[in-house]
């Protein structure tokens, strides 16, 4: 016959008393869980930097999908056969490529109102260097709603 507390838990799904479990090997066998220190809570600056990287990555993915869609529509309008898709966004390779592309993005700093230059080809980035990036800058941090939309549940 099992320990009463264990038997009751298995029979009815009632909680096992912690004080009893501390002195009962069989209950301890059921309850034992690894103990580990939690990872450190990031600083506010690290949180913001992470959020910004996610914004850029999302923007890169969205823009790439738009480009694929535009290309497909253009091909369809021109009567050309639709091009073979190189990949779908669910494929890790494409996500990696897009993540790498995001590395070519300039983020000014962590201050509020900073400008994020998203989706720049390295060559474009060089062209824009003299123009301070005005034409292609997205002031993402100015809009909490946009941030929330981009950082919402369905993140990659």
């Amino acid at each position: 016959m099992a320990c009463d507390s264990l038997a009751r838990a298995l029979a009815t799904g009632e909680p096992i008393d912690r004080a009893h479990a501390a002195a009962c090997p069989s209950c301890r066998a059921l309850l034992d869980a690894p103990v580990a220190t939690p990872p450190p809570v990031p600083s506010a600056r690290a949180f913001r930097a992470h959020a910004r990287r996610r914004v850029v990555r999302h923007a890169a993915v969205v823009a790439a999908l738009n480009l694929l869609a535009v290309g497909a529509v253009a091909a369809w309008l021109s009567g050309d056969p639709a091009p073979e898709p190189v990949a779908t966004v669910a494929e890790p390779d494409l996500i990696e490529v897009l993540a790498d592309a995001a590395l070519a993005v300039e983020v000014a700093d962590d201050a509020p109102g900073t400008e994020v230059l998203a989706l720049l080809d390295p060559a474009d980035l060089a062209d824009l260097a003299d123009e301070e990036g005005d034409a292609a800058a997205y002031d993402l941090s100015a809009s909490d709603d946009l941030l929330d939309a981009l950082l919402g549940e369905g993140s990659l």
Binding site: C3, I16, S26, A33, P34, T37, P38, P39
Partner: protein
Amino acid sequence: MNPVAIPAAEPRALEEAAFLAALEASAPAAMALACRLLRDPEDAREVLQEAWLRAWRHRGELRDADAVRGWLRAIVVRECWRALRWRGLRRWLGFGGDPEAGLELPDPGPSPERANADAQLALRARAAVARLPARQRLVWTLRVEEGWTLPEIAAATDLSVETVKTHLARATAAVRAGAGDPHGL
């Protein structure tokens, strides 16, 4: 002169520093919960890191530092549920080991024969818990091992109390069957 109605002031969101301090203070309990739900420190660590980010993104919803602990607890539960579903998918696809595979018997104590039989039963039960579907496992662990009330579980999992009861009943039946002690139970 008509009195001018002054609208009640909106409660302000937590200051960043207070929010981060509250997260820091809640971290050990959140980690212990994740370790219990996942039984794997590395998975628990990943869940905590994701929980930090989710908490940061939604910090504007909080008005009270005292509420951070319970709020973070609910986030951890949902992230653990997500992790358990991924673990189930990986297992189904044949990837990844089972963190419950290396279970060992505890010290049997003064009456080794009886205690050893009990501990064997407990370990079989624990292995059965590890095989439960993610949601049933979550509900069972929170109820039986963590001692949460049914409404607390319902609130943290976005389920109704009735649904929680159903999952608990199914989980209990499966664990009992997995433990396989028809004489003792």
